[in-house]
Amino acid sequence: MPDPNVYNDRVVTVLVVLSLVWAIAGMGAGVFIAAELVWPTIDLGQEWLSYGRLRTLHTNGVIFGFGVSALMATAFYSVQRTSHVPLFAPKLAWFCCIAWNLAVLLGGISLLAGWTSGKEYAELEWPFDIGITIVWLAFAVVFFGTIANRKVKAIYVSNWFYGALIIVIAMLHVVNSMAIPITIGKSYSLFAGAQDAIVQWWYGHNAVGFLLTGGFLGMLYYFLPKHADRPIWSYRLSIVAFWAFTYSYIWAGPHHLHYNAIPEWVQSLGMVMSIILLAPSWATMVNGVMTVAGAWEKLKTDPALKFIVLALAFYGLATFEGPMLSIKSVNVVSHFTDWTVGHVHSGALGWNAMITFGTFYFLVPRLVGAALYSVRLANIHFWLALAGTMLYVLSMWGAGVSQGLLWLSLDELGELSYGFRDIMASMTPYYALRFVAGAIFLSGAILMFYNFVKTMENRTTVVRRIPDVTTARSAVEAVA
């Protein structure tokens, strides 16, 4: 019988470690495919090492392995603290942890073997889709069960974001994965043609929205005030931004399909809703920046806060660049270029990875009840992460804008001036720089991994008692 007076933190520790393993593996795959774009023959003629297969391994590894494990870990950690109860159904939480990671592992192997549905970020075939649905339902039961048991009346804003993550991803995943199986490893989508495209990018964009943005905002809203040791600058703004974000995001998907065979008005709607999205996104950024600005003394003692500061800066960049790229007269040049890839990674490296690193530097020492093994290594990691991200973004801006120009250039006869092969060959310098940038970023992550291994060595997760709720409640009400 689990003790009702202590938090369930062991599952959090395990999820953090698994997330770190996926970070290294997924980014390692990213660096390898970046190298393949410079030296195409390093696939050694092996199908499973080819770009097409490893690219999906990279995206699935970082998003579902690294990202979702980190989100599960932090959701389990923070929902207990903000509800003042242990996890509802802790065994089910262990099931989530193990089954999810097994699904990503086996799914990754199936991608290497060539199974794919061909839908971006939803490549895994139908047996995995069913498995993922079951795990996700279990995640929902644990999370919302814990909230239902809570001893504090208010539901703190981080839980709204984690809750939206769970509900919306369930909806997106189930609808977009509907398919008719042909064999164990192949199925065909239930939707056809333009409809399939719209459903796919409704899924794809909102996976970015509710997982890579919303889920990680849950992380921000819990861990930033913890780091800063003061409440969020404006709680009201955070709630307003939550609802504005939720309502506008869900419509933005068609900006992935500009000038495609979908109705013109759907494209324009997608563009308008994308531009509106800037408002809640920047409201959140301002809220974060002002929270840190008032707590600058904390930077003296907390190496991790730096990562969060930088994450906010890149969050600001990515959420500005996104609406801009969805303007049709920008998109007509930027689409099908590396500008998109640069945009993705200013979010992925600068925001998702950076905020997760910052959170883990806070969390790991607390979980095992020890000081961080080396603050110096963490500081070096910070520099590597910053340099890697900057170089990545710059190289892809350069590549993207010149590609946009070269794809569309006409000669005197009105014919396209350059062929695909010529343009790709001219990209080598940019791709080489991106490879270096990725290697720098990855080496930082490896340092962090080593730092945590040393911090956790010979230790187990500390058992923490749940503090008395009456004092906690008066604290919350004082803030409200």
Binding site: V289, V292, A293, W296, E297, K298, L299, K300, K306, V309, L310, L312, A313, F314, G316, L317, F320, E321, M324, L325, I327, S329, V330, V332, V333, S334, W339, S346, L386, A387, M390, L391, V393, L394, S395, W397, G398, V401, S402, G404, L405, L406, L408, S409, L410, G414, L416, S417, Y418, D422, I423, A425, S426, M427, T428, P429, Y430, A432, L433, V436
Partner: protein, 199 residues
């Protein structure tokens, strides 16, 4: 008398202590440090393009006639000059939030300091091949960021912690400004200004 660009190159560990002592007025810093810094890259670009022509990719070398080249170089100079001064104004605007100094000359000095490695790196413009210029960016960018984070609290007289926050905010703003410029350029292209595109 200090010359920021020279100091950055030769002073090493003493650099920030010297800059901390600097007393020149804002207009002096503009003429003595900012102006030369803004002049050098356009000159390199002009000479390199005249000699070798630009190689953006896809085989052919882009050769522009002398008049066009001169115009591009002058625009480049003006953009750098306005950019540097604009950055200093921006820093001053943020200064109260991070308890930094309001002296404009110090903000300009910081901009000159951070820009120096980039200007040195622009020597790669002499051989205007994208690969060479990309290679130059790596060390130069890291050096500039180091100067920004290390130098900001000292030159602008704030705590290292608030300096860190201010430097990060600056990076965020510069990146947003850069991407806005890219966006505006592209919109101009799609509306018929600049290169002829098949749209």
């Amino acid at each position: 008398m200090t010359f920021v660009p020279i100091d950055v190159l030769v002073q090493g560990g003493q650099l920030f202590a010297r800059l901390e002592q600097a007393t020149a007025s804002a207009s002096v810093v503009v003429f003595k440090d900012i102006l030369p810094l803004a002049l050098i890259p356009p000159i390199f670009l002009y000479l390199g393009s005249l000699q070798f022509g630009w190689q953006i990719g896809a085989e052919d070398v882009i050769r522009l006639n002398q008049a066009t080249l001169l115009m591009i170089s002058v625009c480049y100079f003006l953009a750098l000059l306005l950019g540097f001064i604009g950055l200093a104004i921006l820093l001053r605007w943020m200064a109260p939030t991070y308890a930094a100094t309001l002296e404009m000359s110090r903000h300009l000095t910081l901009v000159a300091t951070v820009a120096t490695p980039m200007v040195v790196g622009s020597i790669a413009h002499l051989y205007p091949h994208v690969f060479v210029n990309m290679l130059a960016i790596i060390p130069v960018l890291i050096w500039s960021m180091f100067l920004l984070y290390r130098g900001l609290p000292i030159v602008l007289r704030t705590t290292p912690q608030q300096g860190m926050l201010m430097a990060s905010s600056l990076i965020g703003i510069v990146l947003v400004a850069a991407v806005t410029l890219l966006g505006i350029t592209v919109v101009l292209w799609t509306h018929g200004f600049g290169p002829s595109l098949g749209l």
